[in-house]
């Protein structure tokens, strides 16, 4: 049984049960549960088969970033099931290959148009902070979020945050999310959930799919707070169901109360890998080992120490060579690496695990900005292609801002501050004087990034800002 009953930090209040049909069989879901989660809770790992080799496929990211969980829903193929809440009587089918056209024309509503002052794409820490700051400055923005819930990845962060009081230090991420979402509601900030922004065109129209309807949004300003996606790394068997992003495992257990597996191999000892491993232990899941390709642990030492204390080994200079299994991971093979990251022969080790979690970095989600012609640059220190921007986070497109992980993968505290900076910058352009608040936030952000862990991100930001100026 994959359902988590008791948890040291979380209480799961599961809603009423609703029935849906999967491959001709009736299954139940809890209200609010997504299709992918409901299936997974029932022990279903295989969601589709690949187009050419017919290999079984399951979900990977669980937050609507990748395409691994696509299924046929009510006859429509290529629907992302990880962000689609189950509805009563929904017909869910495994998708074979690319998916056939719907047999009957789905009933789409005619498109509508909206005009906004500010549109914020993404309702995570950066987006919500931008929205709250704007509203408090006298400007009402619209938030567009593709997931069923606001709060982004904060809604699964059960650990206490670092930083100082101003950045909610000592508060668990889930509580920060709750505070921010409550404030958005208290301030009556309009927000679309379950709404995917899928296109941003050179005439500055944002195309959003909401409730079976195309919504075309024109806006004086945009803030792209679209977050980041987990990286897949190449190894044999990396498509076998049971290979997840570490964040996906976190979504399963901490948002939906579902165990991702019984025994996990964690790939990557950065903060994500270390934190998620500890949270797996809290959910009652065994962590066989954490492996790290580089010769040292990349995340905070204290997170590593928390795991070691429970007897979880952390092996540096080690990578995953192969995942074994057909419709579910059955084993994983690791191998040691020399100082040039070359495999050392005869150092393979077999692990009996049913789950492999990849915590091997994040890629900023920037496709919408790239589509609209925003100048981009590949900056490894920021996680990949990022939009060029100035100090106040305005991109090469006038009045189009970026904030949070989308401009370089970092963490929630800095995302919150970046959201605030973009909002103050917009307020300034609208003639509302926010100079002192803006400078305060810029200073605070500088202070937070001033330690050794901030060096890499600062070098990347300098590159993005300088390229924007030249």
């Amino acid at each position: 049984m994959r359902e988590i009953k008791n948890h040291p930090i979380l209480r799961f209040s599961r809603g009423e049960r609703i029935k849906f049909i999967f491959e001709g069989k009736e299954l139940t879901a809890y209200r609010g549960e997504t299709v992918a989660m409901a299936l997974y809770r029932h022990g279903i790992d295989v969601f589709s088969e690949s187009a050419k080799l017919h290999r079984p496929r399951g979900m990977f990211c669980a937050i609507g970033k990748c395409s691994s969980c696509m299924m046929r829903i009510n006859g429509i193929p290529n629907v992302r099931t990880c962000i689609l809440p189950v509805q009563k009587g929904m017909i869910v089918e495994r998708q074979k290959g690319l998916g056939d056209k719907p047999e009957r024309t789905a009933k789409f509503m005619p498109p509508i148009e909206r005009n906004e002052k500010v549109t914020i794409v993404g309702g995570g820490p950066a987006g919500l902070s931008a929205a709250i700051t704007l509203k408090k400055s006298g400007i009402t923005p619209l938030i567009v979020e593709q997931n069923p819930l606001l709060g982004g990845q904060l809604i699964k962060q059960t650990h206490k945050f670092f930083g100082s009081k101003e950045e909610h230090a000592g508060t668990r991420g889930i509580e920060i999310a709750k505070e921010m979402v409550d404030e958005v509601k208290r301030l009556n900030i309009p927000h679309f959930t379950n709404s995917s922004a899928f296109g941003f065109y050179t005439d500055r129209t944002l195309a959003v799919f909401k409730d079976n309807q195309l919504v075309k949004i024109k806006s004086d300003y945009f803030v792209f707070a679209t977050g980041a996606a987990e990286k897949m790394i190449p190894f044999e068997g990396n498509d076998i169901p049971g290979v997840f992003g570490a964040g996906a495992a976190q979504t399963m257990m901490n948002v939906f109360g579902i165990k991702p597996g019984n025994r996990v191999l964690m790939v990557g000892a950065g903060n994500v890998g270390l934190i998620v491993s500890y949270q797996l232990l809290q959910a009652g899941v065994d962590v066989a080992c954490v492996i790290e390709a580089s010769p040292k642990i990349g995340g905070y030492f204290v997170h590593a120490a928390k795991l070691r204390r429970f007897g979880v080994p952390i092996l540096a200079s080690t990578t995953i060579k192969r995942a074994v299994g057909v419709s579910r991971v059955k084993k994983a093979i690791t191998v040691k690496l020399d100082e040039h990251f070359k495999e050392i022969p005869n150092t393979e080790k077999e692990w009996n695990v049913d789950t492999v979690c990849l915590a091997t970095g994040l890629i900023p989600s920037v496709t919408l900005l790239a589509q609209a012609g925003c100048e981009m640059k590949y900056i490894p220190a920021l996680g990949g292609y990022v939009p060029l921007r100035n100090r106040l986070l305005e991109t090469s497109l006038k009045n189009v801002f970026v904030a949070g992980d989308a401009d370089g993968t970092e963490e929630a505290s800095t995302a919150i501050m970046e959201g605030r900076i973009a909002a103050f910058a917009i307020a300034q352009k609208e003639g509302i004087d926010k100079t002192s608040e803006l400078n305060e936030t810029l200073d605070e952000l500088k202070r937070l990034r001033s330690g050794p862990f901030g060096k890499k991100i600062l070098s990347g930001i300098a590159e993005a800002e300088n390229a924007r100026l030249s």
């Binding site: 930090i9 668990r172 204290v302 204390r309 007897g311 050794p452």
Partner: protein
């Protein structure tokens, strides 16, 4: 590069530890936060200003003479890297943050675990402090016969 970043645990030579005459008086906080990370709730939660830190990215330094052993820092530390140590009536005592199920109860016998999760003895739970779990970790205090273990006990395993 410090070795602890290779293996994920720290050894005593990298840590400050109070003399026995101090910890025989009352509980005293010790820290295993040795890396410059942007975080300071231990400093702001200390009622007697016994923890010093140079800027938000500094490493906490505890004034063992000043510390009153209240345990605020143990409950608040996001890295679960603060502990209390005490020797009383010939017994060792350690207070540690604990965020797992089942939470032990006062009087329970538990295995004492070291920094790599090895069992190094048995002890008795003498106090379980459960603050608001939204912001704090539960703090479990264990007592054991071998006073030298105050330097090594950093986790417990509830005996089922």
């Amino acid at each position: 590069m410090q070795d602890y970043l290779k293996v994920g645990y720290i050894t005593l030579e990298n840590l400050d530890f109070p003399e026995n005459d101090i910890i025989e008086k009352h509980f005293v906080a010790v820290t295993e936060c040795v890396q410059e990370i942007p975080c300071n709730p231990c400093v702001t939660s200390c009622p007697v200003k016994a923890i010093e830190m140079k800027g938000i990215n500094g490493v906490p330094k505890i004034n063992f003479e000043k510390c009153v052993g209240c345990g605020n820092c143990v409950a608040v530390c996001p890295g679960l890297a603060m502990f209390l140590v005490n020797i009383r009536n010939g017994k060792g005592r350690v207070s540690l943050p604990y965020e797992m199920l089942p939470l032990p109860e006062t009087g329970n016998e538990v295995f004492l675990l070291n920094r790599v999760g090895e069992r190094i003895g048995k002890g008795k739970v003498i106090r379980v402090f459960v603050p608001d779990e939204k912001f704090y970790s539960a703090v479990v205090t264990v007592e054991f016969d071998d006073v030298n273990l105050v330097k090594y006990v950093r986790n417990i395993e509830v005996i089922k």
